[in-house]
């Protein structure tokens, strides 16, 4: 399986994992068939540090959840990862496009919170 390259943006304290202070961007090479969990592991970002995660403008994870790890990555994908510190009040994300896994997770726990 050929390797893939994904474009990654890291925001907040986790930018340090790609050489930044508050913001960092990097091209990360992964094995084919890798997922977001593999990407987080490669960057050494722990579950406690990560907040919102987007893949190609689709919201895949929120603080305190673990809904994105199985999301498969393809060549050229863009992934945005935010630190746990980042905020996104509910009224400003009500109706955004989300992954199926996150939609299921939020339906179980209730979407209307500001902590996530």
């Amino acid at each position: 399986m050929p390797s893939i390259t994904v474009n990654v943006s890291l925001y907040g304290a986790i930018a340090k994992y790609a050489g930044g202070h508050h913001v960092a961007q990097a091209e990360i090479v992964l094995d084919g068939n890798s997922n977001i969990g593999d990407l987080l592991d490669k960057l050494t970002i722990s579950a406690e540090e990560k907040g919102y995660i987007f893949k190609n403008a689709v919201l895949c994870d929120v603080p305190g959840f673990d809904a994105a790890r199985d999301e498969l990555l393809c060549e050229g994908d863009h992934v945005g990862i935010f630190s746990i510190q980042h905020m996104w009040p509910y009224q400003y994300r009500d109706g955004v496009r989300m992954s199926e896994a996150l939609t299921r997770a939020l339906n179980e726990k209730g979407a209307m919170h500001n902590t996530y």
Partner: protein, 585 residues
């Protein structure tokens, strides 16, 4: 001492103190401004004519000891921008000082003789009407400095040149603790209505004032402690939390990643330069320039959230406060500009001239689409503020806001509702907020619908965010709870912790009940909010607005927004449900 109303008539330069009529006695902040405007302003009047008024009201708890983040002042009247009722509120020094003078509201009415301009000095002893000739033509940075020479440590409410010209995008400035004009009751053009009263500035000196009477000190104390703890505990509002560390511009990269960042006059949902103009970038500049800049700045005494910032210039000197998300979007991504220093300079121009940054940036974006200059032309955009300062015809057009600018430049992509342009959340990508944009009595407004806990709102917390079902009920609950918070004097950002922390919500309600001597529960908060919305809605109806005005602009129904390539698809019938109850009672 019971709270009083101060009525200032600019026709005969008389000020009278009045007892609060029973019908208004329960109100503060937005509830007070909307109640007075509803009762005293003819909805059909011209906003700049003699029959409009400006009402200034501190919130219920504003000016009380140690109520956290509670320094808001509401400003109300009929809006020159929208033609609707308008309430716009801000932090800064004014709210606490007005409240400590024992005033529940200041009503500005009447019109002076032609070309007669005054500034007012309000103290515990009354109102002085002073000749403002020496202040005319000056911007707010200079006005604040001049007035503090004679009246140090006072609150200064004022209008820049935009208000003097009675432009529809003229905001009302309030000085911050550093006596800079960064706090704006910006939206809706109420600065022009103050200008139409012949008032350039109002100095509030609370020395020796009676302070705020608290009806039930025990209940107030219990409430404010619970709310304080919730703010300090919650991830969004605690020290070094997202807001404190990066300010409201912490949302720039998030909304951009979500594909909902309005870009180049609402033609796209992502901006390639977003990271350069984000809260993270501001934090980097502040650290790198190592001077007077700072994050975690408070806009008024007693704020414990401290989401403001002071942006430094290249030499480290303070350039402007505050550089917010809405400003970075309107003057940044929506104009295709990714230069933070230029955005900061344009923000300073807005603060000086007395312009709302959202409407100002969006108007420039319209002019860019109309061919006046290219998207991304930062220097060209900055120079446009001189057109306003120099009172040129172009400057006057831009200062009238997005709709006027669009007509002047023949642009059909006009992102407005009821004449007010949209803030920084693209409703085609973030559909929930579109309902509030469409139906708010204020026009497109991102602060009209803050979330409240599902059990208080009376809706399920497990609503599917991807369907339209329940969005009308949700928006109404959000709008009602927001109207309540806008009346409290608390910063709207207390809504973040009180959604997740029940004791925080109870604390907010208890603190209000403690000050006012009211018997309040969470359900009452929604009911009071709906009372306010009903007055505002009825005012608008009498001004000629119908449900057909509760619509997003046409282009959003057929123009696909990249990267998601979505259009606004909510049925009009769903939008009409939000206010269907107004005539049912």
């Amino acid at each position: 001492m019971a709270r009083k109303l101060l009525r200032i008539n600019m026709s005969d330069l008389k000020a009278t103190y009045e007892d609060i009529p029973k019908k208004w006695a329960k109100w503060g902040g937005r509830g007070m401004t909307s109640a007075i405007v509803f009762d005293e302003v003819d909805p059909a009047c011209h906003p700049l004519g003699p029959h409009n008024k400006v009402v200034i009201a501190p919130g219920w708890v504003t000016g009380t000891p140690a109520a956290p983040s509670s320094g808001r002042s509401s400003f109300g009247g009929k809006s020159p921008l929208t033609g609707t009722i308008k309430e716009s509120n801000a932090g800064g020094l004014s709210g606490q000082k007005i409240a400590k003078l024992g005033l529940a509201a200041i009503i500005l009415e009447g019109t002076p003789a032609k070309d007669q301009w005054h500034y007012l000095v309000i103290t515990k002893d009354g109102v002085e009407f002073k000749d403002a000739s020496d202040l005319m033509g000056k911007g707010m940075y200079e006005i604040d400095e001049i007035l503090w020479k004679d009246h140090p440590k006072t609150a200064v409410i004022g209008i820049g040149q935009a208000g003097e010209m009675k432009l529809s995008n003229a905001g009302i400035s309030i000085n911050d603790p550093e006596n800079k004009p960064g706090r704006y009751a910006g939206r809706g053009g109420l600065g022009a209505v103050i200008g139409a009263r012949g008032i350039k500035a109002i100095v509030i000196d609370d020395s020796g004032g009676p302070g705020v009477e608290i009806a039930n000190k025990g209940l107030f104390e219990k409430g404010r402690k619970n709310l304080t703890e919730a703010i300090q505990e919650h991830a969004l509002t605690k020290k070094d939390g997202g807001l404190n560390a990066y300010g409201t511009d912490v949302l720039m990269n998030i909304i951009n990643e979500a594909g909902g960042l309005p870009t180049r006059n609402f033609s796209a949902g992502q901006f390639e330069g977003a990271a350069k103009i984000s809260g993270e970038a501001i934090a980097e500049v502040v650290e790198k320039r190592d001077g007077e800049g700072m994050t975690g700045h408070g806009c008024h005494p007693g704020c414990i959230i401290q989401c403001s910032n002071i942006y430094p210039d290249e030499s480290g000197k303070a350039l402007v406060s505050c550089l917010e998300y809405e400003t970075a979007f309107s003057l940044g991504s929506n104009c295709g500009i990714d230069d933070l220093d230029t955005i900061a300079r344009m923000t300073r121009e807005c603060n000086d001239l007395g312009l709302d940054t959202i409407e100002a940036g969006n108007s420039i974006a319209i002019a860019m689409e109309g061919g006046l200059l290219e998207f991304g032309d930062a220097e060209g955009a900055l120079k446009l503020f001189d057109e306003i300062r120099n009172k040129t015809p172009l400057g006057r057009i831009l200062g009238q806001g997005v709709e006027a600018t669009a007509k002047a430049f023949g642009v059909h992509r006009v992102p407005t509702v009821k004449g007010q342009s949209m803030p920084a959340y693209e409703p085609r990508a973030i559909k929930g907020i579109g309902v509030t944009y469409a139906t708010s009595p204020m026009g497109a407004d991102h602060t009209s619908g803050y979330t409240i806990a599902p059990e208080i709102a009376g809706v399920s917390g497990k609503l599917d965010p991807l369907t339209d079902e329940g969005k009308a009920d949700l928006s109404l609950a959000f709008q009602a709870s927001t109207a309540f918070i806008d009346s409290s004097g608390y910063c709207l950002f207390v809504a973040f912790p009180i959604l997740d922390i029940q004791t925080g919500f109870e604390g907010m309600v208890d603190s209000v009940a403690g000050v006012m001597g009211m018997d309040l529960t969470g359900d009452d908060a929604i009911a009071l909010g709906k009372e306010i919305l009903k007055m505002e809605r009825l005012f608008n109806e009498r001004a000629g607005f119908t449900k057909e005005d509760d619509r997003l602009p046409e282009f959003m129904r057929y123009e696909k927004l990249p990267p998601h390539d979505v259009v606004w698809s909510m049925a009009d019938e769903e939008l009409d449900k939000v206010y269907a109850w107004v005539h049912e009672d």
